[in-house]
Symmetry: C2
Subunit: 140 residues, 2 copies
Amino acid sequence: MADHRAGRGVKRGELAKRTGCHLETIRYYESAGLMPEPERTDAGHRLYDPEQERRLRFILRARDLGFTIGELREMLCLADGQGGSCRDIHAMTSAHITGIRRKISDLRKLDATLSRISKRCARGDTPECPIIDAFYGRVS
Amino acid sequence: MADHRAGRGVKRGELAKRTGCHLETIRYYESAGLMPEPERTDAGHRLYDPEQERRLRFILRARDLGFTIGELREMLCLADGQGGSCRDIHAMTSAHITGIRRKISDLRKLDATLSRISKRCARGDTPECPIIDAFYGRVS
DNA sequence: ATAGGCCCTGTAGTCGGTACAGGTGCAAGA
DNA sequence: TCTTGCACCTGTACCGACTACAGGGCCTAT
């Protein structure tokens, strides 16, 4: 083992494998300011310590929960203790939940409309179709 | 009126105003192959006839209903009578409805998870926050 | 010696638009 | 007649959240 720092962390590929994150996404999160610039081996390879692995898992979990990169940046800033309080985090989360509920409501309306339109369709062999007509506004 | 073709249609700005579509979006739909290349005035300005206006409304309605540009291209191809049947349209719409329902289901799970996590939060003044802890995986 | 594998960098492509720079033509007001 | 302003033209860059790939470097094993 040529590099004396190699014992101190894992490289990008290993981190990706451990977290299930795409290899390139880690580099993207670094450029996006979510992940810190990690230490490097003599060959210039990134070395991640357990704290950085936890941070990546945090990011992945929050992304899974639908937070945007911008929200994450803000949240990580608060989590890092840069002047934020538990109250602030709660406010962000509440706003996010509100957004999710609005999306659900929109999609339900979509579902209802499309289902209604689709039900009129006879699934015939002709090109004439009541769904198309509905999109053209020729029927309600 | 210098242009003898001007009576035959409306220009891009007018079409945008009529349909509520963003001016540039019309050009984008043309480049995306959804809208046909319209006639031009002598000055090179696009001129849309009523049929093209109907087509744009079709596109906007379908986009509103969550269809992607790719799906729309396919649907318009069928609507134009290029070998598709009513049955095909119905199949596409059904697939789309299925997708919407899956999205709704995903978002409901998100809502439940976030609401559960958020409820634990005391909204305190300290940086310590159970929401952050949950994201870090330190609690369920 | 060389082949393979991992890593590095920078850049381009995806989707569905939006925005803007720089240019043209046309009509109305001073 | 000049000029001001508007609508339109083209091409290109930007957004978010990645993903993919070209063209290298370095290390290990055979």
